[in-house]
Point group: C2
Chain length 467, copies 2
């Protein structure tokens, strides 16, 4: 039944039936009650509003007389068809997505770095385990859970994180959350908004935004070929540094062991915290494996941030952080009041997926697959672009930075690519000040594209950029 | 395969094989490599680490000689069983949940206000629709979606929110998020952290914490029998007020239309925003329906916060807010950089659930069910407690406040209830200063209990409190 919520004044000038009729009229005119919709029966409305049947009858008669409603014998009262233009909503801006959608439709090949390969995702297993979770002890999975996240899932993460990334922790240290931004926000509150945060420049814009929106003081530290410039960090006076050592975002360099040790030394000397965001560290194509900063840390100065967005699928929104002892204590003292943000159903499904070994084998499969896609991308670039470009950050991860030697501006590169149906991405937005971005560079993600799409995309880019 | 990430120094004092053996030894001793676990084959590890087969062989021989690993013919090398106590993790505090679990196990009847009735949740339909979503266009549901949330779901919410709560909005105004705290945090950033926020006292502690943790200035406004005291609000100088008009949390009064109009007038006169948290407004037992503040607002001064935690299930973590035009503009200008926090699979499932009419019929069913449970609760209280108690806030929602006339302290009430296996909840935590909480009062939620549990719980409380 339509829930009518009129404000009636029984001491008012107008009789109740007129007030009710006017209210319903207004609802019809505003489009809130749709045409052809059935009005409640007189008896129901009378009970619902606590008004007499007579009042309802009079109000309905009034509406009928004015042509707002039609009576259909033995069926009831229906809203009459009224001019469409009365129905438009005057108060709120309508966002026209038409233009955007049109452009999107023309994009044939999208080098989006946020996408992953879905063709090889083990849907049947995921479906089966989702079903199992839905059938499992329902009263448990459907009420609120542990604010840190499900213990069983945290146990799996603790075990497998060590195996895949060399992270050393126990499940109590892990906090699950619906994405890196949710966790970064919580983390900044735990560490303290009065602290001074150093960020890679260029670096991950979403983290920068969270911190700046929280009103936290931040400073941009430049990079050299090994990652964040530690001398700059030392001089900055920062208490906390956020880094992406496995695959710097966006430049893609892998931080060598020497730089990692330098960074850990900084944390020790300056009593600082390092936030290590390992967003796609599972994928490595060249060089020896390097342990995570967290795994190398013996002083409890590192927070490790991980996500299943790249190693599984982005849309289930499961990330996690590993807190060192000092921050864990602060979390437990105050922050368990923040409810868990990830669905228990997904947590439970992921737990089974990991426990049964599917995550490891998916990861192994994906490593091979991305290695292949990466090789295709590199060979296509070599074949079609030759020495007219440099590739930056090609040792790991799911994207590269392409530097052109043709002096085209970033927006020219992006727009001319769009004209041939290819979407490539800007680098400038990752700088604290976009004007610091020099040269002709764009970002190409390849995780979500097939091998033939990658080849075709590069061919089209050659054409677009006239290389 | 176990991913080993040793840091080896080929210019160091010790030969590489010793360095590798020492590393593996350390991993075993620390418990990071578990006993009985199989080590990688020599060939695999050699390829993986880029070391010669000889080096690996020598390292394995060393470990074998020292008793850390056992060779099993034709099966490989396995970690030997080592004393358990070596495996303990020295660095991090182990949280002992034993005591808590023990207490929890003794709780037979839990008057938790966060729980809902799960027995009548249409699991078969939800499972079917979840499956449909999992089979649907996979490439769509599994990549990242719209930061505001899925448009199809927002359309359903806009339509049905009007029908069930009288909220007037179009889908563009709706932002979906993983719980009220996530949305409150985002909302405070949109409205501005420099603004001054008035809160009901007592009021919802999780919102208060979010705002205070963000460093926002807050002021506690007392309540009278109609809800927040608007004169106090006027004198406070606040720019924003957070209220729970459908069922004040925790006291449960329904804000009458006159007070609502007063509050809207305040917003108009003081150019303020009202945040209307309608966390369980779907359930009303007495009195006429009163439109939501958002529905009464003609000036665009109200933000409406809703959730599916009470009207569906808490664990899927889906809430939403409806922004007025001014705040929507601010959101679109800057805040779409915040990724959506709710799984697309759940959003898609909920969309179908709503579209097919299941949400409305579930809500109707639940209204009848909770009305019955509520009636049982009230009659049990009357029968067992007679005039020794007052019931506060019994007109709507899924909890009541019980005031005893026996002068017992809050913690005495809770502890003596626990001794007979019944959990009731404190009121004092909802006050800005817990010492403001006067008299003998506790909170009883009834949504998650069966009728017989409610009756039994009240009988046990009579015994515990010696009424």
């Amino acid at each position: 039944m339509i829930e009518l919520t009129p404000v009636l004044d029984d001491k008012g000038d107008k009789p109740l039936y007129i007030q009710l009729a006017n209210y319903i009229k207004q609802e019809i005119l505003s489009g809130r009650i749709k045409r052809e919709e059935k009005l409640p029966s007189k008896r129901n409305l009378s009970q619902y509003l606590g008004l007499s049947l007579n009042t309802i009858q009079s109000a309905y008669d009034q509406l009928s007389a004015e042509g707002y409603v039609d009576s259909r014998p033995r069926k009831g009262l229906f809203v009459a068809a009224i001019e469409e233009d009365i129905n438009s909503n005057r108060y709120y801006p309508q966002i026209s997505e038409a233009k955007f959608e049109q452009l999107k439709a023309n994009v044939k090949i999208d080098f989006n770095s946020g996408k992953v390969d879905l063709e090889h995702f083990p849907f049947p297993i995921w479906r089966k385990l989702t079903m199992q979770s839905l059938y499992a002890d329902q009263s448990e999975v459907f009420n609120n859970g542990d604010p840190q996240g499900e213990l069983l899932l945290r146990e799996q993460i603790a075990t497998q994180l060590f195996a895949s990334r060399g992270v050393r922790c126990n499940p109590d240290q892990i906090i699950i959350g619906a994405g890196t931004q949710v966790l970064m926000c919580l983390l900044a509150l735990i560490i303290g908004k009065d602290k001074f945060y150093a960020l890679e420049n260029p670096g991950f814009h979403r983290t920068r935004t969270v911190l700046q929106d929280l009103g936290v003081e931040t400073i941009a530290i430049p990079l050299d070929e090994n990652g964040i410039y530690v001398k700059g960090l030392k001089n900055s006076g920062a208490h906390v540094v956020y880094v992406t050592p496995s695959h710097q975002f966006p430049f893609g360099m892998v931080m060598p062991i020497s730089r990692r040790m330098e960074l850990l030394k900084w944390a020790e000397d300056y009593k600082g915290y390092i936030i290590e965001d390992d967003y796609d560290g599972e994928y490595r194509y060249k060089g020896q494996p390097i342990p995570s900063l967290q795994g190398l840390d013996t002083r409890g100065n590192v927070v490790y941030l991980g996500t299943f967005s790249k190693s599984l699928i982005p849309s289930i929104r499961i990330s996690y952080m590993v807190l060192p002892a000092t921050l864990l204590t602060k979390y437990q003292e105050h922050f368990t009041i923040y409810k868990q943000t990830v669905s228990r159903l997904h947590q439970n499904t992921l737990y089974h997926f990991m426990k049964d070994g599917h995550w490891q084998s998916h990861l192994n499969k994906m490593r091979t697959l991305y290695r292949k896609k990466h090789a295709i991308l590199m060979s296509s670039i070599k074949k079609d672009f030759g020495d007219k470009v440099n590739v930056i950050g090609e040792n790991s991860g799911l994207h590269i930075v392409l530097e052109l030697k043709n002096n085209m501006q970033e927006n020219e590169l992006i727009n001319s690519a769009l004209k041939v149906g290819v979407k490539v991405y800007p680098l400038s937005m990752y700088y604290h000040n976009s004007q610091e971005c020099m040269g002709s560079k764009v970002i190409l993600g390849f995780g979500g594209l097939s091998e033939s799409q990658i080849e075709k995309g590069i061919r089209l880019l050659k054409q677009a950029w006239e290389l």
